[in-house]
């Protein structure tokens, strides 16, 4: 009986010469996909860079590019952008750090806040939130202002306008602050999660108070996370387009991204050269921040990951507990709930007015959304494009993960870095490069769905690879190696071991990509058109020439769809304990 245990499975013969490899192996397919994605990322950038250096563009174009760069208005816009992002960024860093610390280390922790805060930008698209704030805080007709004035009136203080004015520097910085904080929170909280709590416990047992511990032990050890946070805030802030468009332009505050989009999308003929001239500034800022981040990380002295993920006892905040909690809840209200209420309120009016009366509410704006060909077409297109785009991106991401994880070499690490470029270089630069490279010769993809689809995949491939890589690591190397030693080749291992186990993570990633693509504004504003409308394009169109109630209705619709998807993913995540 025992000898039969080692009977080899009957087989014709065991060769010691290499088997003939089939023409297209799974590994081959993965590499082809990787090559296509790398091409889609690098070609537009290289072509744009060459154009900036004068290769492949005519002298007039080059002249216009540099003329735009050296214009006085460029300096003004740069200063405006730096001020807005800088001041708001400092606030966002502080708020993000405080909330992250509160949720990770103290007893002010709010479970659902900890999970939802980083996802807020996904719940409510930034343009919807910006429009919501306009409806709330316009100095005269803003609903919040009306409310405050009424309340103040009852205590004898009469005001004819204000007190809040969203179309102002403070208003703009406030909006940027709301937008940037979740990103700061995300990087800092994940930094705290991998920090050894023993360091802080040592401080507290030496007699330091909670805030002193935070200031003198936690913050310095968090250097790399803080540096990453600064970089993220700078890149997200410098590429932000929807908020300055809606809030800044009416206040006379012009920033670079708005002007770049305007040059590409609204000037006829499309002023690509001018857009490139302004893009030089954005790229310079991003590179500066990147170098700053590397300097901060390299100077060492930061705490290493303990690896055990042991949770320390929560710090008792005493009388500070509820104020911190209220600050967190207040922030979430400001950034998501309030603007949504503003949108809903206006969407139910027949025309935007400060005199909000419950008797004159109507659903006609929602009905008209479906009547309007452009809006309905845009909604349909966005859903279809997002479904296809998210699928393509996740599949590509999974195959790219296979390439990068199968063998850690300089080559695969470089490729991994390239795939992350669209996230580091900001969406606006990638979108401009796409216009330069693919709209005209030799591809002539201008005004097609193809260019939109390619742009979406390229813009969101970093997120796709992030989710698929997280899913892959959750499976663990040994499970795939066990499949190999059991006789399965790469494709079989992928199909029978990796895919089923990665599926929950991939599905979650798919859903979040779906939300990101439907809510995309940057690429949509420059690459979509009247023939190929998508939601981002449509909502901008409504902003410039449509009625506010209809705009509000679309904003509510976008938020509802996005929220449903994100909440479903969060519920699934808890159920299946996914890594996200």
């Amino acid at each position: 009986m025992s000898t039969t245990l080692l009977d080899r499975t009957p087989e014709p013969e065991l060769e010691s010469t290499p088997r003939k490899k089939p023409l297209l192996t799974f590994r081959g397919v993965c590499w082809i996909v990787m090559a296509i994605v790398v091409f889609l990322i690098l070609y537009p950038l290289v072509r744009t860079a060459l154009g900036m250096l004068g290769i492949g563009t005519d002298a007039a174009q080059l002249g216009q590019m540099w003329a735009t760069f050296w214009q006085r208005s460029t300096l003004t816009m740069t200063v405006n952008t730096v001020l807005a992002v800088g001041i708001a960024g400092i606030g966002a860093l502080a708020a993000g750090a405080l909330f992250a610390w509160a949720n990770e280390r103290t007893d002010a922790r709010l479970g659902f806040a900890a999970r939802s805060l980083p996802l807020i930008p996904m719940f409510i698209p930034s343009i919807a939130a910006a429009v919501g704030w306009v409806f709330l805080a316009s100095s005269n007709a803003g609903l919040l202002n009306v409310l405050i004035r009424n309340v103040l009136g009852t205590v004898g203080i009469e005001m004819t306008e204000g007190p809040l004015n969203i179309h102002s520097w403070p208003g703009l910085i406030f909006a940027y602050f709301l937008f940037l904080t979740p990103y700061a929170y995300l990087t800092i909280s994940s930094g705290l999660q991998s920090l050894d709590p023993a360091l802080e416990e040592a401080s507290r047992s030496s007699g330091a108070s909670a805030f002193t511990t935070f200031r003198r032990v936690t913050l310095p050890s968090l250097r790399p996370s803080l540096a990453a946070s600064v970089l993220l805030i700078a890149t997200m802030g410098f590429a932000l387009f929807s908020i300055p468009l809606v809030i800044g332009t009416p206040a006379g505050i012009d920033v670079l991204p708005v002007e770049i989009v305007h040059m590409v999308a609204h000037e006829y003929p499309s002023n690509k050269a001018g857009a490139l001239g302004l893009s030089i500034v954005v790229v310079a800022v991003v590179i500066l921040c990147w170098m700053l981040q590397r300097r901060l990380v390299r100077s060492g002295g930061h705490a290493t990951i303990s690896g055990r993920g042991a949770r320390s006892a929560a710090l008792q905040l005493g009388r500070w507990r509820w104020p911190v909690r209220i600050a967190m809840l207040g922030f979430m209200a400001l950034t998501a709930a309030l603007p949504l209420l503003g949108l809903i309120a206006v969407s139910l009016q027949s025309y935007w007015t400060a005199n909000f009366s419950f008797s004159s509410l109507t659903l006609s704006n929602y009905e008209s959304l479906f009547d309007n060909e452009l809006v309905w077409g845009g909604l349909q297109n966005s859903v279809v494009l997002a479904a296809i785009g998210a699928t393509a991106a996740i599949v590509a991401g999974a195959l790219i993960t296979m390439v990068v994880e199968s063998r850690r070499s300089k080559v695969t690490q470089t490729l991994d870095g390239i795939v992350k470029i669209p996230a580091t270089l900001t969406h606006i630069i990638i979108a401009v490069a796409f216009v330069v490279a693919f709209a005209g010769a030799p591809f002539y993809l201008v005004g097609t769905y193809a260019i939109l689809m390619l742009a979406y995949v390229v813009l969101y491939i970093p997120q796709a690879t992030f989710y698929s890589s997280a899913a892959y690591h959750q499976v663990g190397r040994q499970l795939t190696e066990a499949s190999a030693t059991s006789g399965a080749a790469a494709w079989t291992t992928f199909r029978r071991v990796l895919l089923p186990l990665m599926a929950p993570g991939l599905i979650a990633g798919w859903s979040l990509l779906f939300v990101l693509i439907t809510g995309d504004i940057t690429a949509s504003s420059m690459l979509a058109g009247t023939h190929t409308p998508v939601v981002g394009f449509v909502i901008l169109d409504l902003w410039t020439s449509g009625t506010y109630p209809r705009l509000a209705a679309l904003g509510v619709l976008m938020t509802v769809v996005a929220s449903i998807v994100v909440l479903t993913v969060m519920w699934l995540r808890d159920k299946l304990r996914l890594v996200l």
Binding site: S2, L6, A484, T485, A488
Partner: protein, 386 residues
Amino acid sequence: MSVLSTRSRSSETGLGTPSGGMVEVTGLQMDYLDSKGGTFTALAGVDLRIPSGEFWVLLGPSGCGKTTLLRCLAGLEKPVKGTVRIDSAVAVQDGRVLLEAQERPVGMVFQSYALWPHMTVFQNIAYPLTVGPRSRRPDRSYVETRVVTVMEAMQIGHLRDRKIGELSGGQQQRVALARAVVAGNKVVLFDEPLSNIDAKVREQLRAELKSMQKEFGFTAVYVTHDQAEAMDLADKIVVLDHGKIVQVGDARDIYYSPTTRHVAEFIGTSNLISGTIEVENHDEAMGRRVASTAIGNIPTEVGNLDDDVIVSVRAHDWWLAPDSPSATNGLAGEITSATLLGHYSDYVVEVDGVSVHVWADDLPWAEVGAKVRVGFDQSKARVFVK
């Protein structure tokens, strides 16, 4: 039973001891690129020949290359030089990989057992029979019979439809082993499968593993850093250090006759004392060649005059007695530490400026500060050139 079986052969026949299952490695070298761009040599020319049906253990400290060697056998790492033969198949020829991991006739049991959580026990074990080139796959009835046979042999037949998460550590080990042998692999590789298990359970699982290997007769190549485990399981132990094999032998050889100081240091608790090769009493004509140390002169043939050497004497080869004015045996010393370790105690005694570990029965008078006399059996001392 020959490896060159025809398709029509049923699995019930099969007599005699299995042939094949031999592992041979020649000149294996494995380099890694480290984070600073230099190369780190994990295996620096390894030669090994493991006969069929034996249980061999690769032993050594972290970073010695034992896991790298195992993974080269499995095909999970690709060496830069050398040849690997498994059964009669050449897996790697002069640094060229001829057989990928999935093509090699080896099974592997991983540190975490690596059982797939989305499959049942049956599906896990049946997996190797359901993958690979289509033309070679057996039909369903064969798979069913074979898997059941193997499961029964390992006494896990009743776990067929269970999910992996419901199994105990011991059951998982058996499932992992069943999966490794179900396709008829005559060589099974083990990558420290017991290192995450509690001490008491570990001993039990070790015993089971040993008996299954004996019963089923596969060649086992087992990696561990635990010397007690190695000595318990192995027919032969391969001690590795810094990418080289430093000694191959059974437990006795390794323990009593270590060939290098590294082996001596790694196995058991040894006292290592430095010394120099001299001629005793400087009597060139009559004097013996000895290693002159703080604990005395040990006769030895090793090395040349004036060489610096290390003398190794195991802790339990020492004796301990109370000091008294009339005592003349051994060396005088003082206890600086006394630790009860179960059925024996570990005493650290300071003798002539060196600290020596002495294992002896628990002696009530042997407290810290006590004056003692210690000595050792000179024949048990080993001398190594530095």
